[in-house]
Amino acid sequence: MSVIAILLLPLVAAALVCLPFKKVWASGVTVTSSSAVLVLTARIAWMVSLDKTVVSGLKAGVLKWISVDGLSALILLLIAFIGAAAAIFSVGYMAHGNYKPKKLRLYYANYNLFIFSMLAIPVFSEPTLVWIVVELTTLASALLVSFENTREALEAAWKYVVLSLMGAGFALLGFLLLFAAMQASGSKEAYTWSGLVNAAHSMPPVLLQMAFLLILIGLGTKVGLVPMHTWLPDAHSQAPSPVCALLSGIETSVILYVILRLFPVMQASPNSHAGTWAIVLGLISVGAAAFLLMQVSDYKRMFAFSTIEHMGIILTAVGLGASAANYGAVWQIVSHCVTKSFCFFAAGAVLLSAGTREISAVRGLIRRSPAAGAALVFGALGITGAPPLAVFLSEFSILKAGLAQKHYIATGLLAVFIVIAFFGIMMQVNRMAFGVRENDSDAAVPDDHSGYSGHFTPGNRFHLPFSCSLALILTAVPVLVLGLYIPPPLQGLLSQAAAVLTMK
């Protein structure tokens, strides 16, 4: 039952925030509901880590397709965690923007709907239904991306919607073919993820492969795999920072989760090349993103490219295809989620204090706002995989698994690209945090359209809103702790999730 409550809470919250009360009401409702969702998902994740699959127990309508196994519980937990942290961050961040109350209500309503659509993806196990909720994530987040209504934001939102929905069109055909393959196999099982795996060996390979490729390309567009990534840096940089944290930190991983669900199916089918496809597409994404990272002029775009890089890493890891690599992949999903959302919170803090997205206009941030500067440096170190933070360990375990699998070329390339990305990001961030402005009269150009007016003179210290600091601390804890110690329940959940991906 608590699974249904998880889905209902954000919907109820979305309705409640539309009531015309004071400004505090909308943010309060959102924070409360996302915290409640977090508690409920933690309970479910706990149950799943003790080797149980959670089902709704109801047989009516769409509810009969609710089932949560190791992998979905992990994703669910991550969505709830980032959702709650971003809700807390939103409170201070959005208050800074001086928006009209109506506009704020729109923001929070969309925010809750977006959370709902993401939570629904791992909860449902019927592939076509999952496709529908994937569409809903695009539609619910479209108006969040265009929230600031500037020319750039509208352009980003438009590209985002058109390209994601175009990919979804291809994926729809893929899912319909998957259904056809299920029918052609003569299996009597229900059309769910686990039913697919069991029926895979008797499916016509050509149908299955066509379906897989269509879904890989279609949903890969939304994950931001190169060369379908063009919308991602735009959308992930133009949205308000808490939304960027959701889009980059968790949404891409959730969509990738849907693709990953197909890998056990493909492995059960004779003569499939799913692993090769994943490695090729993954390495192209990592490589392209690592080089594109170096020429950005906007620090939010920089983190967006880093998301493309990490999606590539995860896909490559799954392509390597042994149980150790799968473990590395799910671990990488976790560490990327927490670290990337921290990075975007930090980027939001920088934007609040510096008032511009241009890298070249931010210098000596650590003096202007020690909190924002420190957060930016910490986030950059975390996301590039500096030891002893979470991403370092997960990337290390992927590389180790790759070598053990004797995929020397793929692993070598992966390591090289990761190092390139490390230098690309650290160089920029280093200048932003510790650099000195070359010409003092060249004051910061405030971003033309953002409502902030943070003129940049050393000495006038900027203080982060309390809720922003709180969200930063909340997400910093796992970034730091998971690099040193994984609590046993999480360890159990990770093994369960990796087991779902690995063929028995």
């Binding site: 209504n149 939102a157 919607v161 929905l165 175009m166 050509v206 149908l207 020429q295 775009r301």
Partner: protein, 236 residues
Amino acid sequence: MSDTTNQLLSNLNALVTGLFLLTAFGIVAMRQARGCLNLFIVQSLLLAASAALLGLRYQSVDLYGVALVNVISKPVVVPWLLRRTSPAEIYTRREVDQALNIPTALLIALALAILAYFLGLPLLKAVAPEFRGPNVPIGIAGLLLGAFTLTVRREAIPLLIGLLAMENGAFLCGIAVSRNLPLLIELAIATDGLIIVFIMGVLTRTVQKQIGTTAVGELAALKEAPVRSAQREETK
């Protein structure tokens, strides 16, 4: 059901899907937003007709469901939603500068249709042996042509129609290969299409209000470093 009836139904279905392919070409080439919308409505009705014919042929209630959902949602609700959400004047707008001129676009579209035929062949062999209908290749062609429409068009409404046409193509193929998709899912997909129209309509209106154009294809400010910083220098 007798062989002659089956033969008749198959022939009718071939006619309907042939017309479907024509409308897909039409959407690529049609310049006027209103014309695009009308072609899309015709296409949806043809999809519904094909679903109904296949339903008769295979005695499948689910396919009648698809037909019914299509008849109600697309020709009626989509135009209504568009009228409610997006500014009226964009229907009358003619799109003069497509990314490609119309003959070139149609030639590429033709190549895509041929490609779709070859993509469809192996699929046809894999699905139930009694079925050798034209739905699969034409459905894939509809999908590819819809995607192609998205790349050549710049106006908001034709882009939206391209997206919906992609979905129509996927369905035309889907009803032939997978016949018992739960009706609940069909309904959900149809609703989803309507949400697409609503959200994109709202976006179009906002774009027009803020920027004063609906030629969204011409929005191209977001690029990598060199261009943007150069612009900044100029404005300073």
